[in-house]
Point group: C2
Chain length 348, copies 2
DNA sequence: TTGTATGCGTTATCAC
DNA sequence: GTGATAACGCATACAA
């Protein structure tokens, strides 16, 4: 539109509909109409307006538009560890799907050092998000209350059940089945003394995976050690491995040895796996079997070949989008994401 | 504040300052003052207002507030592959730093299938973002123009130089030095025929890494094959490895063999590494040396031990925040992030 | 078809 | 210290 080499008139501020109106010689209302689908504008006016907008670089201010609408286009997405291999894949898929629906992704990282998590989450409401999606972390009662009072919906992914009456859609992978599958697989491999590694936080579905695992092992009479400490991280898996796989030796204390370990997330399991193999010099699955939960992309890499319980990212994302797309007043739903065993090379 | 068990009055819409004013028996103006730092309000009024706000679950509408302010608190963060191990770590650090400064992160994923990237990026301006940060992907002229016309700043991270006069702060890791370091290291390892693997997109600083690598190899008289195809992904590295490391055999064509490969990102290099080791049965660094660029967290895992060129994530994030914090009209800056060789176990 | 007037939720300016 | 009033940028009912 602009001639090559022509100077761009920069206002130093955002261009408004009034600027466009002036340039196109129409009223502000007509400009508004030109950008409102289905509104009545003459062809010639629309043409002039669009040309003026193009020249000026005008874009409708959706923040101001939100003042008139029932709901904004903003979806708050909350997580505490976007570098986690599964969470990052989830975020990648979710943000992409949101844009395809014309929604925007307002990211909230709850892991910042020294911050007040509850206040950070509440801040999402300052931006009038239509929905808050929790990928990880706790669900403060404060947030539940605020969302309810302001008519914002919540989508809880693999989070514990909120109090009765909360306006939250639930997306849950079948933790019970997943934990059981992991236990069955280790039992089938002939493990005699196993362990489960779960992060210290008790506010998550990860506990349910561990519980189901322990229950199934109990049923089979196989002793289980439960390691619950630290964050949901590679490092936690590494530390657990050092403690759980200590080999007997002259300088060591009591002989603690496990022949099967279930990490409740792939990141934890990968920490266990690599520490066992490369730091402790153990053979996996020869000396010890390792199984994870998630099926993060890197778990399938040949460098890991981690046997794991898969929760389908596609299903998870689809269910999340379905929940987000629900009308403002719709009743809450619950969606169960199926899980299944992905057989690779870390269980004997 | 509310009695336990008491019902929460839900309006089905966002609570406004008018609601609070009514409940507290003051005017809207006074409510506004109560939430404006340094404004003049009596102790008793403030007390009543905060109590009413707390009960109702009121939060200041920052979207409406933005209408009055020069700039919004929204920072647009653009990326095309948030599952990439380095990008995701970068996003994790950046989003955390933004929140610590009271800024919000509006995420834009440019990788969605079938979408118009340029339109998606332009959409960021609909939300009056104060700054657009480009983590990856191209920098459409359209976006540059729109930002200039609307007074929004840009921060380009490892992107090619924009046209003269663009209001963009540049954050650049020293690609030339990095590429040279990689070449020197492979030469030092005694490599005789090397290759560089770079993604197909030509709109990025990744090309500069490859160029510098090639130049240094040329200077040393070591032949270089340049593989430039596909995305910045693990898969690209895997495919390149298959082609570049084909071993001579009865059914194969000409003998193409390289003894050193530089992947311009760690994700690519890891694809090369794993394919060489686990699919082609080669010894790394015995048969072939592999070196990457980024130093993503997983590159340091014992399962990889990738020798790589590190661009400090801390420095990168700090520089990015410095750029974001600049005043609206400040002149643009350029920050160079130092790189250095991280010696691990994939180069002989 | 177009322009005027009003309202959305906030802040800033002005009287009181 | 407080309340009325006018912006901010937009959408829309209403008038022309």
């Amino acid at each position: 539109m602009t001639c090559p080499g022509s100077k761009i008139a920069a206002l130093g501020r955002f261009v408004s509909a009034a600027d466009v109106a002036e340039r196109a010689g129409v009223s502000r209302s007509t400009v508004s109409r030109a950008f409102t689908p289905g509104a009545q504008v003459s062809k010639s006016a629309r043409h002039r307006i669009l040309a003026a907008a193009e020249e000026l670089g005008y874009r409708v201010n959706r923040l101001a538009r939100t003042l008139h609408q029932e709901r904004s286009d903003l979806v708050g997405v909350v997580g505490g560890n976007f570098a986690n291999p599964y969470i990052s894949a989830q975020l990648d898929a979710l943000s992409s799907a949101l844009h395809a629906r014309g929604l925007q992704c307002l990211l909230m990282n709850t892991a910042r050092t020294g911050g007040d998590v509850s206040e950070d989450l509440a801040r999402l409401l300052d931006y009038r998000v239509r929905t808050v999606v929790l990928l990880s972390g706790a669900t403060p009662d404060e947030l539940i209350r605020l969302c309810a009072q302001n008519g914002a919906r919540m989508v809880l992914i693999n989070r514990p059940h909120p109090p009765e009456g909360t306006l939250a859609d639930l997306i849950l992978c079948d933790s019970a089945r997943g934990g059981r599958l992991a236990a069955e697989r280790l039992a089938q491999a002939g493990c005699r003394k196993v362990a489960v590694v779960v992060s210290g936080s008790r506010t998550s579905a990860k506990t349910a995976r561990a519980d189901a695992f322990c229950a199934e092992m109990d049923r089979r009479g196989i002793p289980v050690t439960r390691w619950a400490d630290g964050a949901n991280s590679y490092q936690t898996g590494a530390e657990a491995a050092r403690a759980l796989l200590a080999r007997p030796g002259p300088h060591l204390g009591p002989h603690i040895e496990h022949d099967g370990i279930f990490g409740v997330t792939d990141e934890i399991a990968l920490g266990v796996l690599n520490t066992a193999r490369f730091e402790l010099g153990l053979s996996v699955p020869g000396d010890v079997s390792v199984i994870g939960f998630d099926d993060a992309p890197i778990s399938g890499w040949a460098s890991h070949g981690l046997t794991t319980i898969r929760q389908s990212l596609e299903e998870l994302t689809r269910a999340t989008m379905e929940a987000i797309k629900r009308p403002a007043g719709a009743p809450t739903t619950r969606f169960d994401v199926p899980v299944h065993l992905v057989e690779r090379h870390t269980v004997g």
